[in-house]
């Protein structure tokens, strides 16, 4: 289990992570979302032991990931812009990673074929997407207990994205591993994540089970044939609202049945309830947080 205890990290005067607490269970895919500059990459680098926390710590299975390098054998970090040593090929990288991690040869061959990569070609001649696939190949072949993916779907074509999602499913299922994915592509995250966290102002402002959270936030459309006192909506936790003529649109946080029952008491002409997707969830949560 990954446990982040009061993690604080700043660069100069800027505090990027501020007493951040989070727990991620094993055998789960955690989607880390946040606006640009929220500190997602910083958080992943702190988890992987690259950055030294200014305060707090990160523990994976009870071991500090910065202080104890041995635990990093179980952690693999795929950053948003991978580095490859000059003139290296997949074969040379295999030697490199193979000497530090226990590399699964079968998985290596499988994903090498799946991604259609030439292991002898210099990586510098690869496209951006191929370079990314190369590191993903090693991530899946090393089969770490904690896989950290920063902007995992960037630069990948739709077919590879699909392959990657399937590979991650299999990986979780077979190895009971934990995956943390940060991405701006929330539609992709929605397909694979079972839990999520929104990073805002250096803290995880919202987190939880994705399905539960989605069920807890809904879009309500109401139309009235009479003038209505808008103060009656104050009883709801409204994340977003709009009005067009006599039609009201609300995004309300709360139990769907309870909200629906309360809204029905206002005797609307029409009452429609629509589910929100992950992207909307993020936008409305973020808006709500800002308001």
């Amino acid at each position: 289990m990954l446990k982040i205890n009061g993690l604080t990290k700043g660069f100069g005067d800027k505090k990027v992570l501020d007493s951040l607490y989070l727990e991620v269970n094993e055998a789960s895919i955690f989607g880390l979302v946040g606006v640009n500059g929220a500190g997602k990459s910083t958080m992943l680098r702190c988890i992987s032991g690259i950055y030294e926390p200014d305060g707090g710590n990160v523990e994976f299975n009870g071991t500090d990931t910065y202080k104890d390098e041995a635990i990093r054998k179980d952690i693999f970090f795929v950053n948003d812009d991978p580095y490859y040593p000059m003139a290296s090929s997949i074969r040379t990288l295999k030697e490199f990673y193979g000497s530090y991690y226990s590399l699964n040869e079968k998985a290596y061959r499988k994903y090498l074929d799946l991604f259609h990569l030439d292991e002898n070609k210099p990586i510098n001649s690869f496209s951006k997407g191929m370079k990314r696939q190369t590191l993903l190949l090693f991530a899946l072949a090393i089969r770490p207990k904690l896989l950290l993916l920063d902007e995992a779907f960037d630069g990948l074509d739709p077919i590879v994205r699909l392959d990657l999602k399937k590979a991650l499913y299999d990986f979780i299922q077979d190895d009971q591993a934990t995956v943390i994915i940060s991405s701006h592509n929330l539609k992709e995250l929605e397909d694979i994540c079972d839990s999520y966290g929104i990073l805002e102002n250096g803290k995880i402002s919202t987190y939880g089970d994705l399905l539960e959270s989605k069920a807890n936030i809904n879009k309500y459309q109401l139309a009235f044939n009479k003038t209505i006192d808008e103060s009656c909506f104050e009883q709801f936790e409204i994340l977003h609202q709009a009005k067009e003529g006599s039609v009201y649109s609300f995004v309300i946080k709360g139990d769907r049945n309870e909200v629906e029952e309360k809204l029905s008491k206002l005797e609307p002409l029409i009452l429609d309830v629509l589910p929100v997707n992950f992207e909307e969830l993020f936008i409305y949560e973020h808006e709500g947080g800002r308001n």
Partner: protein
């Protein structure tokens, strides 16, 4: 401490560099096979080692200056201590193995003996480690590759810059000292010390103990600093401004101070054309302006943008005022009295007095001397009196009288240096070399030593006299000289 996997990876990934080092070393050994006695091969291998001591740390530890590479290396399940030690071991091995092969190769050819060979090999190892950790520490004090290279260059040239300022000060302010030996600043440079130590080991077959101890101190101090710069390094420093104290802030300030002192010390006793400070500033103004421009350019390189704060001109002006105060003090105190700090009674190892010939009656004695001896009428004649006194050689102790004459001449030289007469052409000079400290004193004499002094000097058995004409040099024996001086000085030839 060492990570074998990482060492293997380094060997494999840097195989082309290793092949290059091997081939160049082989070429050096092959091309100098007939020049064994000169240790040319070892000298060339030393130069290659110096180049590698800059290149290898930059290549092996490139990842500290690259954000993406930091992600890769610092997330590995290997401790930073292991990465550091393995990296240093790789650098030292790449330099030491070919160097030690060359030492053994030339040592055998020169029949050095096992003991000396072993000493040379141990000293070479300490030299390699010290130079690598020194360069690596400086490289890692920066935050980008370019800054790392700039810092290595800046710190490597620092001893020369310090030397240049000290030398300039002595030249301008202190009578008798025109230049100082590089030995004075050698302890600032592990490269210089390493060369000297190895040269002493294979050439003079002795241990340069002070150099050896200093290099061991370098290994300990810079090894610890490498630990701080790498193991305790914040990964986020990569690709940011190199604003650590020992980086640009110190380097720019140091070089500014050294440069400004070099310019200001020209306002010294040696430059009588500057009657006063205002006259000096008027002439040197352009140099100060140029230096300020360079100072601004250095800040541009440091900040990667045009940068100006009031602190910059304030610091520059303060440095200028400070250096000018120093120069004025040096001028008014006649070099802070440093010219007097010389005790002839201690005895120096080598002294030479040159008397140049001039047209005129005053030179007749010398001309007559040379004509009589060589049968040649010379257009010009110089008389050199060499006084050699080698420590521990029985029967060759310089007499008290000789010592007294030399001391008198030295005092005359100091007097004339600080007098208003110093612009006149000098007609004689006296140089004294202390082979122990390496110091070299040179006094220009406006008034030549009188004939009586020369005669008294020539009586000393440690004195040798050489007459130089355009047809060649004629060195006279002591007895020959004595005979001549007796004959001609006691009974000078009439015109």
């Amino acid at each position: 401490m060492i990570c074998k996997s990482y060492f293997d990876y380094l060997c494999k990934s840097k195989k082309y560099l290793l092949i290059f080092i091997f081939l160049v070393s082989l070429l050096i050994g092959f091309s100098t096979r007939n020049l064994w006695n000169d240790y040319l091969g070892l000298a060339l291998q030393g130069i290659l080692s110096v180049i590698l001591s800059f290149v290898l740390p930059a290549v092996v530890f490139y990842h500290v200056h690259n954000k993406k590479a930091c992600d890769m290396y610092f997330s590995l399940p290997v401790s930073r201590k292991q990465l550091l030690c393995t990296g240093v071991l790789f650098c030292v091995t790449c330099i030491y193995v070919p160097l030690s092969c060359m030492i053994v190769y030339q040592g055998i050819a020169n029949a050095l003996g096992l003991k000396i060979l072993l000493i040379a090999l141990i000293e070479a190892l300490i030299a390699c480690v010290s130079v690598v950790v020194f360069n690596l520490c400086i490289y890692m004090s920066a935050n980008t590759l370019v800054d790392g290279i700039v810092m290595m260059g800046a710190y490597s040239f620092l001893p020369l810059a310090v030397y240049s300022v000290i030398s300039n000060f002595y030249y301008n302010f202190v009578a008798g000292i025109n230049y100082i030996s590089l030995d004075q600043v050698k302890y600032l440079s592990p490269i210089y010390m390493s060369f000297e130590m190895l040269a002493d080991a294979v050439g003079a077959k002795k241990i340069a103990l002070l150099c050896l101890i200093t290099l061991i101190i370098y290994v300990l101090v810079f090894g610890y600093l490498c630990f701080r710069h790498y193991v305790l390094r914040k990964a986020e420093r990569a690709e940011t401004k190199s604003d650590g104290f020992f980086c640009y802030p110190l380097v720019i300030s140091l070089y500014l101070l050294l440069s400004i002192f070099t310019i200001s010390t020209n306002f010294g006793v040696r430059s009588p054309r500057y009657a006063g400070l205002s006259e000096f500033l008027k002439e040197q103004f352009i140099l100060y302006v140029l230096l300020f421009a360079v100072y601004m350019a250095a800040h541009f390189i440091y900040k990667r943008k045009f940068y100006f704060t009031y602190k910059m001109p304030v610091f520059f002006i303060l440095a200028m005022v400070l250096s000018l105060c120093f120069a004025s003090a040096g001028r008014s105190t006649k070099g802070f009295g440093l010219a007097q700090h010389y005790d002839m009674a201690q005895g120096k190892d080598y002294c030479m007095i040159n008397c140049w010939n001039e047209a005129g009656d005053g030179d007749r004695t010398y001309i007559d001397l040379i004509e009589k001896e060589t049968g040649t009428k010379a257009d010009y004649v110089s008389v050199y009196i060499e006084i050699n006194r080698w420590h521990g050689m029985p029967g060759l102790e310089m007499s008290e009288e000789t010592s007294k004459i030399i001391d008198e001449l030295r005092k005359q030289g100091i007097r004339e240096y600080y007098s208003d007469e110093r612009e006149k052409t000098f007609t004689a000079s006296m140089s004294i070399q202390d082979t122990e400290s390496g110091m070299y004193y040179n006094y220009e004499l406006m008034q030549r030593p009188d004939v009586e002094s020369i005669r008294r000097l020539a009586k000393d058995p440690v004195v040798k006299v050489t007459f130089a004409t355009e047809y060649g040099e004629y060195r006279m024996t002591n007895s020959g000289l004595l005979k001549m001086t007796e004959q001609y000085y006691m009974d000078p030839v009439a015109d």
